[in-house]
């Protein structure tokens, strides 16, 4: 079984989000980058397939050389091989086109993306890739088992859970639940050493154009400070919520 996990390189969840002075770009100063959390759940699930079903796990990212540390981290976690498509990610469509070209060359049985990236939050790449490759697609995926080429998956829907079956190959959008937080693999020394020997191929992008571009960033407006109500004075809170905020 061949598994591809698509990895997006994102700022650590605790990062303060700042922009360059002209507001045109994200200010990477002092920011630590991590594997997009949804992708890490997906990668961990892939490693389980590797351990149980002898699957080969390839990780791929579309990005410049600054993305290599997180690819190395994926290798240290246990991926067999990494690929970097050497171009900067212009938009979701552009990234999906690059991934499509890779997936047409190599044959993958399972393609795992994250449900969404925590920086752009587009939630676009996996669905676009699925449609480009005309493959079945399960997003918000919280469980996946494969027996005899039949996939049984569960998907979180608004207010419930849906059970789905499909054939391989398939694309999924991973999220927490596919594996738990406590299942995430922290690379050990041996993994880190091995990662240095594992292949990290850099390949050229295919030509494609983006269908959107980000012009400028803005931070939310500063909020007014909180109105405190004394704990003996709950009537006042109810009155504020009713008369002032008009939410009850």
């Amino acid at each position: 079984m061949n598994i591809l996990v698509c990895i997006s390189n994102v700022p650590d969840t605790t990062s303060k989000i700042n922009f360059t002075e002209d507001h045109k770009a994200f200010d990477v100063n002092g920011v630590q980058f991590i594997i997009n959390p949804n992708d890490e759940f997906g990668l961990t699930r892939a490693i389980w397939f590797q351990q149980k079903n002898q699957a080969t796990v390839t990780v791929v990212t579309v990005g410049d050389s600054s993305c290599e540390p997180i690819l190395r981290k994926c290798l240290a976690i246990g991926a067999n091989k990494a690929i970097r498509i050497d171009t900067s990610a212009k938009d979701g469509f552009y990234v999906a086109t690059q991934l499509k070209s890779l997936c047409e060359k190599e044959k993958y049985d399972i393609i795992i993306c994250g449900r969404e990236s925590i920086d752009y939050n587009g939630g676009m790449v996996p669905g676009m890739l699925a449609q480009m490759l005309k493959l079945p697609f399960v997003t918000n995926c919280i469980s996946m088992e494969v027996i005899d080429n039949v996939v049984n998956a569960k998907r979180e829907i608004d207010g419930g859970i849906e059970s789905i079956s499909s054939s391989l190959p398939i694309i999924i959008g991973a999220q927490k639940g596919l594996v738990e937080e406590s299942d995430l693999i922290i690379p050990n020394m041996r993994g880190i050493m091995q990662a240095r020997q594992k292949p990290l191929d850099v390949i050229d992008p295919v030509s494609s154009s983006a269908k959107s571009s980000v012009e400028k960033f803005q931070k939310p407006q500063e909020k007014e400070s909180v109105k405190l109500v004394a704990s003996e004075n709950i009537d006042e809170l109810i009155s504020l919520l009713h008369n002032e905020a008009k939410v009850i």
């Binding site: 979180e156 809170l237 009713h242």
Partner: protein, 318 residues
Amino acid sequence: MSIIVYAESLNGKFKKSAFEVLSYGRALANKSKKSLVAISINADDPLKLSNYGPDKIISLKDPKLIDFTAQNYANVISEYSEKENISILILSSSADSKYIAPLISVQLEAGLATNVVSIPESLSPLVVKRSCFTNKAFNNTTLSGLINIICVSNNSFGVFENPSKPEIIDESIQSKINSCLKVNSIDKASGTVSIADADIVVSGGRGLKGPENWHLIEDLASVLGAATACSKPVSDMGWRPHSEHVGQTGKPVASNLYIAIGVSGAIQHLAGINSSKVKVVINNDPEAPFFKAADYGIIGDAFEVVPKLIEKLKAFKS
């Protein structure tokens, strides 16, 4: 050229977001002087949409589309978008709409922006403001497709009545099922309000000490007709189901009112609830970061404050 809005329904009833995207569509149609078409799939009463200003309603009935399947829904919406010769397609940011949007965008070779929070700042080029970095920031995105798709963030625009006399087109179709995905069963949490649709969400954190105390959250939610939610450690410890975990790595909440009890207000938690309109915090630690993010707050012990609040709200409601 026209603008199409997909008005989502569940079990035949329109979701609130259907009226919001239609209100958004009306404002955009006025601004761009285009006609506004609403499309509904298996809705019982499509005429309900005429309160919000469509020029035309396409009401599709298809027994094969009773259950939501992304591929089939995407195919149908793409087909009618092409028939109507649209320039813009408007969807909500519900889980279902965000599932189908990227599929449609490839089918129509359209530009796509999700989490859009306001009416476009400019029409040509088409520039939309959207949230990013899990609500820690916004960006202005230019969409450059011949057709473009906008997914409107829930609760960001609001619902505005604008009665119209639309032309109604009833179509009964029998779509070809060409997806190899099969939906086997759906488990709905019954009787409760889902976080995505809720106007009010009541959320509990580790400060509640244990699952045995969750009746406080449930009782408060039931007085308010609210959905219940929790912080990440609470669902990690199994006090509450994962589906209630909100935040950067959980569900986003865009309710009118968010009440957080015994939640410290970590940056990852706040990221998920930033787009809620009014936030109330109840916490016994005046230094809890949540007080910086909230609109109203009570410094106090949840075990004393919440029972009183429930009692007073019951009196207020009756």
